[in-house]
Symmetry: C2
Amino acid sequence: MDHLKLISNTCMLQHVRAAARRVTDHYEKALKPTGLTASQFTTLVAIARFRDPPITMLAERLTMDRTTMTRVLAPLQRRGLVSQNADAQDKRMRRLSLTPDGISLLREAEAIWDGVQAHMLEKLSPEVWEEMRDQLAKLT
Amino acid sequence: MDHLKLISNTCMLQHVRAAARRVTDHYEKALKPTGLTASQFTTLVAIARFRDPPITMLAERLTMDRTTMTRVLAPLQRRGLVSQNADAQDKRMRRLSLTPDGISLLREAEAIWDGVQAHMLEKLSPEVWEEMRDQLAKLT
DNA sequence: GACATTTATGTGCATATACACATTTATGCC
DNA sequence: GGCATAAATGTGTATATGCACATAAATGTC
């Protein structure tokens, strides 16, 4: 097998990114009724889970660049789903929280997630996915 | 475990995308001397491997949207690494090929790839990666 | 041979991604 | 207290990603 075929067939960069595109496609099509993108859904979940996180912490939790996080938040704030408030102690920090509309839309999206996630798990089985997730976590 | 934690911990969308960002980061930092991005490197490899492919075929091979492929090609053509030529039989098709500069830069990038890929395989082992790649391929 | 359909491609738009650089506020040290 | 440093955030720029829509060339049908 020549070198180019070796790269095509085994390159981690290519295969992990292609898988991410395919997975994104599935979830975004399902989430379409909410108008949320993949990044936006993930962000809403993280804000709800981590209770008023500042932007930098949110970015770290999602393994996302801090400045990317800022851009992802923009359409969410424009839609009135997320609000920012300066921290009382440290005025540099902007703590993020879901608005009532954000909470309500997230509930709707969570129900959709249940369905897509179940559908995706059928392709692998929950056990294989759990194992894969742990392996993916090693790619740091 | 509440629903938000379940999503955070198991969501395929989040974990596969986060892994893709991390992997991209590793490869792009290594490829920096070539000035190639992740998508650009992958694209050069595919053009070299599939011998003058038209854009749509290239996009299919890389599981990438056709219009995304068009945009990825733009900076490569601007740099004079890739050229387009209308097919002799079917004038709708634009067949892609590497220029001498493109061939030369790809050779340089391939050498870098060997190093990064080996480094990434150390995190998993080649066997685990091969298994993971096959599982990722099921996520269609 | 004319016309509807299909196929290959491009473009406008919105968001995703991250680097380099700039700004504001907090902290540490003397 | 004053100043160097660090920390949290934003902005300009370039590429990545894909949808909706548009165009041009080939193909099929009558």
